[in-house]
């Protein structure tokens, strides 16, 4: 395979563009390389054929004679055909006359036949000529149509080439855009990954905060016995400030005397009286856990108390307070 640079050099060599040392160098390369020699020969042949593109012109006819004279050659005029020597024979005129007479007879007989034949042939040739003319006209017509078609195809071809060039340009632009989009997508993916990680951390933080918040909404109050009799007993309230309800756990509290009930109270500073959280059912000494909800909405549960009320409870604390705490 001959590279393009070497091909160009060979063409410059053939066109006579190189200086003497370069010419010699290229000539040596061509001589030593069979492939290059073949290429150079083909190119020389092709260049030679370009001469056909120049319009041929009738050249002066005497140039060969001028050259040969200048080269010291004795230019001979074209030899004339030698004259035939006719041997004069005495019998020759008689023989000729006899031959002529015989020939006249034969020709006379043959003339009629030849005339008929010629007439037929002439008619046939006329017909052939007419057919040929028709065919020629058709061919010319076809040729004109073909030329038009060729011109049209060329035009179309040029248009298609233009379109192709435009498409190639668009394609190149699209490829650039695609590359840019890919780059951006990669960057976005990285950003998404970073955000996802950050989100996970935020979720963790949020969960921690929620946990912390949940705990902050829970209030635990240990109630203290106000009467010596109940010193052994324990009472603890777990209050949910958000839900505004709670759980009371009692232990070792003896059942109330007949006709009495324990009643739980929530003390809200915004209200003039403690709010009842219901009568407690204490059937026996032991661990009791019961949930409760004040009978009125409570803004803030500042403290909790248990009193000993008449059976069924009271609207406000009337009996003895036996436990209180906050």
């Amino acid at each position: 395979m001959i590279d393009e640079q070497t091909q160009d050099l060979v063409l410059q060599y053939l066109l006579g563009e190189l200086d003497a040392p370069q010419m010699e160098n290229v000539r040596a390369q061509i001589e030593s390389d069979p492939e290059l020699r073949t290429f150079a020969n083909e190119m020389e042949e092709t260049l030679g054929s370009l001469a056909y593109a120049a319009k041929p012109v009738a050249a002066p006819p005497d140039i060969p004679q001028r050259i040969l004279r200048a080269e010291g050659r004795s230019v001979q005029p074209a030899p004339k055909p030698p004259r035939s020597r006719i041997v004069a024979l005495n019998l020759l005129p008689w023989a000729l006359a006899a031959c002529l007479a015989i020939a006249c007879v034969i020709l006379g007989l043959d003339r009629q036949r030849v005339r008929k034949g010629l007439s037929k042939e002439l008619a046939a040739r006329r017909q052939t000529n007419a057919q040929t003319s028709d065919a020629l006209a058709q061919l010319q017509q076809r040729s004109a149509a073909s030329e038009k078609e060729i011109a049209s195809f060329r035009e179309k071809s040029a248009d298609l080439e233009k379109q192709l060039a435009a498409l190639q340009e668009k394609d190149a632009e699209a490829l650039k855009e695609l590359a840019a989009l890919k780059q951006k997508a990669a960057e976005d993916e990285q950003a998404v990954a970073a955000l996802t990680q950050k989100d996970a951390e935020s979720q963790k933080e949020l969960a921690a905060l929620k946990q912390k918040n949940l705990l902050s909404e829970i209030k635990i109050a240990t109630l203290k016995a106000q009467v010596a009799k109940f010193q052994q007993a324990n009472a603890v309230v777990v209050w949910d400030t958000d839900q505004r309800n709670g759980v009371l756990q009692l232990d070792k509290l003896p059942p109330p005397a007949p006709g009495k009930d324990y009643q739980l109270w929530v003390i809200d500073p915004s209200k003039p009286l403690p709010v009842s959280a219901g009568v407690l059912s204490v059937p026996s000494v032991g661990l009791i856990r019961t949930s409760f909800q004040p009978v009125q909405p409570v803004q803030s549960a500042a403290a909790f108390a248990i009193s000993l009320e008449k059976s069924g409870g009271s609207m406000k604390p009337e009996g003895q307070i036996i436990f209180i705490g906050k």
Binding site: E4, M43, L47, S49, L50, A53, V57, A59, I63, I67
Partner: protein, 190 residues
């Protein structure tokens, strides 16, 4: 190609050159008769002057007469060999006289001399000319233009690049591709 070394016409011309090498004047006249109209047309297109074209043709055929023995039929056809000889003679004259741009512009006009040209085109020659012209028309215009400036206008690649205000590399590529395509088309035609 219009003339391959093994086509009958080329073979005949090879035999003429061989006879010329032996000093056969009639062979010389016959070769002149076969090639002179194309070669004179080429010389005229390059020189744009009938007298100078005639001188070029005479110098070219003088060279052929003297150097017929150096012709190598394995390298090129007689026609291509003769074309390159006549072209070189024309280039020598153009360069010696240094006519420069003015002359080259005239060369491009490619107007023939006021002569009866019909007799110059034999049927075979007319056919070959038609094939080459048709092949040239199939080459893109830029390539054809560069090729013709290089071949007929005796412009170097650099000069063509300057004239067409086109990079040198592009001109080289146009000439190379143009010739390769021309070869391809001519091979298809034959």
């Amino acid at each position: 190609m219009p003339r391959l070394a093994d086509d009958p016409e080329s073979k005949f011309e090879v035999s003429l050159i061989s006879r010329i090498a032996d000093g056969d004047e009639s062979a010389f006249a016959a070769l002149y008769q076969r090639l002179s109209s194309s070669l004179y047309g080429l010389a005229y297109r390059m020189m744009n002057d009938a007298k100078e074209a005639e001188d070029v043709l005479q110098e070219g055929f003088t060279y052929i007469w003297r150097k017929a023995g150096s012709y190598d039929p394995t390298r090129s056809t007689p026609f291509a060999w003769a074309v390159m000889i006549v072209r070189n003679k024309a280039i020598d004259r153009l360069r010696v006289r240094q006519r420069g741009e003015r002359l080259r512009e005239r060369v491009e006009q490619s107007v023939g001399p006021e002569r009866d040209e019909s007799s110059a085109e034999e049927p075979a020659l007319r056919e070959r000319s038609a094939i080459v012209r048709s092949a040239l028309e199939q080459i893109p215009r830029e390539q054809r233009e560069a090729l013709e400036l290089a071949f007929f206008g005796d412009l170097t690649h650099e000069e063509i690049a300057d004239r067409l205000t086109t990079p040198l590399g592009t001109i080289k590529a146009r000439i190379r591709r143009g010739l390769l395509k021309l070869r391809e088309f001519l091979q298809e035609e034959t």
